[in-house]
């Protein structure tokens, strides 16, 4: 099996799905001639031509709306946001149009569309370029939210997203793009709503996704030296959540840490915690601990940025806390 970067795995998924279905096309800023700001769409223009790989002006609301209209008419657009920070200028199109259309048309018009791109804090890009959008989009019924943590998942998940007949928000992370992993060439799909046990363990359940998964793995290694055997769950899809998988783990460990790169208030982790408390209250030894960003916009300075973001040390500390080792 080939060992490739996550950007290449995403690229394979796009290629396969564009080959598989004539109606799939991709549009966004710099996706064609520039081969993508982060090279996820590299070579697609050469392979599929300008009809299906389209450079857009800087008009997120405009081209998101265009994609929604095209989807209503039967095409299957993949919209790349150069970064999900820029989805904020297209927010109304995503929430009021893509997300509501199927319902408010009484089932006449579904919107098969994927909005994808890097989410969260790129390194050292400060306050306006570091938003994590998972909980914002997951708030609204009508969309699914997925976020892969590595190349293998990314390929299978993106295929599922593109084949889905509803809007899917697909959140990648810039810092994962060059991370390498074994990825099969052949076609495989990781269904929407299916989580995965990334590390089996017995003492504490660490729930983490996207870039946080790497931190969780390192934390689990450290914890193992301290006789704490952590189980790592990657929900992969944040909405809908794979509560069955989470429940199995929590019933075993009785302790939970949720790691989220984004903000604390009403983050996806708050919902995951609520669902666990609601369904598994009696299985919990003590309160769930969330590791999130500190409550401030993202600063540029290296030391402040590091202090803002979740870290291996913070995850280890949280796990020790729920295991009463501190």
């Amino acid at each position: 099996m080939a060992v490739i970067e996550m950007r290449e795995a995403l690229n394979q998924a796009l290629r396969d799905e564009m080959k598989r279905d004539e109606k799939v096309f991709i549009l966004g800023e710099e996706v064609a001639e520039y081969n993508g700001a982060y090279k996820v769409t590299k070579g697609l223009l050469d392979t599929f031509g300008p009809k299906r790989v389209i450079d857009t002006p800087i008009s997120e609301a405009g081209f998101s709306g265009l994609a929604i209209g095209a989807a209503m008419m039967g095409l299957r657009p993949v919209v790349e946001f150069m970064s999900f920070n820029f989805s904020l200028v297209a927010m109304d199109q995503i929430v009021s149009n893509a997300c509501k259309m199927y319902y408010m048309s009484g089932g006449l018009y579904n919107v098969p569309i994927v909005f994808r791109g890097p989410n969260g804090a790129g390194p050292r890009v400060s306050s306006q370029h570091s938003h994590n959008m998972e909980s914002i989009f997951a708030q609204f019924p009508g969309m699914h939210v997925m976020s892969p943590s590595g190349g293998y998942d990314a390929k299978g998940m993106l295929k599922a997203a593109i084949r889905c007949n509803d809007p899917v928000i697909f959140l990648e992370n810039e810092l994962n793009y060059s991370q390498k992993e074994e990825v099969p060439d052949e076609d495989y799909v990781i269904p929407i709503g299916k989580g995965d046990i990334k590390r089996p363990g017995s003492d504490v359940t660490i729930i983490a996704w996207s870039r946080m998964l790497g931190l969780a793995r390192k934390a689990a290694d450290e914890l193992s030296h301290n006789e704490i055997d952590a189980e790592i769950i990657d929900p992969r899809t944040l909405k809908p959540l794979d509560m069955a998988l989470i429940a199995e783990s929590v019933k075993k460990t009785n302790r939970v840490v949720i790691v989220e790169e984004g903000h604390f208030y009403a983050g996806a982790g708050a919902q995951i915690a609520y669902d666990i408390y609601s369904n598994l209250f009696d299985y919990l030894d003590g309160p769930i601990v969330r590791v999130t960003q500190s409550e401030n916009p993202m600063p540029y300075a290296a030391n402040l940025e590091a202090a803002t973001l979740p870290s291996v040390a913070k995850i280890v500390k949280a796990a020790e806390q729920v295991c009463y080792r501190v």
Partner: protein
Amino acid sequence: MEGVKKKSHLLSKEKLLVALEKMMLIRAFEEASIKANQQRKIAGFLHTYIGQEAIAVGVLDHKLPQDSAVTTYRCHGIGLTLGMRPHEGMAELFGKVTGCARGKGGSMHFFSKEHNFLGGHGIVGGQFGIGIGAAFKSNYEEDNAVSFTFFGDGAVPQGTFHETMNLAALWDLPVVFICEDNQYGMGTANTRAIANTDIASKADAYGIKGYTINGMDFFEVHSKMKDIVAEVRATRRPVLIHMKTYRYFGHSVSDAGLYRSKEEVEAYRQKDPIVHVSQEMIENKMLTEEGLKELQKKVKAYVQEAVEFADDSPEPPLEELTQHVYFDEVGE
């Protein structure tokens, strides 16, 4: 910015009768909806199309089956013109499962897949993208369609107007942008909202053609749009149409309309498109006073039938509450 020479009366008697009946149907439908609203059978917002009928009917007579249309919440007239029955329209207003959107959309959200009616939309400027997206699909699949994208004067200051005009012009998307300028956005006269109210002239900023048309004159709308639509279909270049029109009633039924004078409203009622067309037809011996009354009766009866249909229809079953949220079943 260019004009197109007026060619009235090129329409056959048959076509004119169809057009007149459609305008009368819209008028009767909206009058019935106002009544039903007073009877509390309709709730929420209710924006009527009364006064603007010549636009929907005059423009959409040039729509081919593969073409699409999208508009604002003021969507009843366009839906009916496209061929929706008043029954499904009224039932939608009544929140019944037999409605065109199964009672889920209401007054602002008429849709018809059969006619590629991509909906009435509630967010001012929110439908522009959908309109250019439909045009994009036509080029993608080479089905030679055009996209009729309607919007109000109030949407001109909205960013999506600019973004989509630029994209349509840049990519040769066959969009007919139709601004139904009824001169007010709610209580705001367009002169208080738009710097440079010569809306057609804004086409220049995008290197496309703009046209100004008297939206109260069915003959002018129909004849000019005939050439314009043919041009867009052939060239795939978008155009911007400034339709000057007027709404006789308030923005929505809850609007007292204190911001405009009785005289102003009266002046426009004098130019009423339905009266205008019927009079021209009578003068040209295409219609008799009796024939007109007959038509009036027929249309009223049809709408009455629709009201009864809506009355007799059931609300959506509660199982429908969480249906149509997602097309696919995913997760557990």
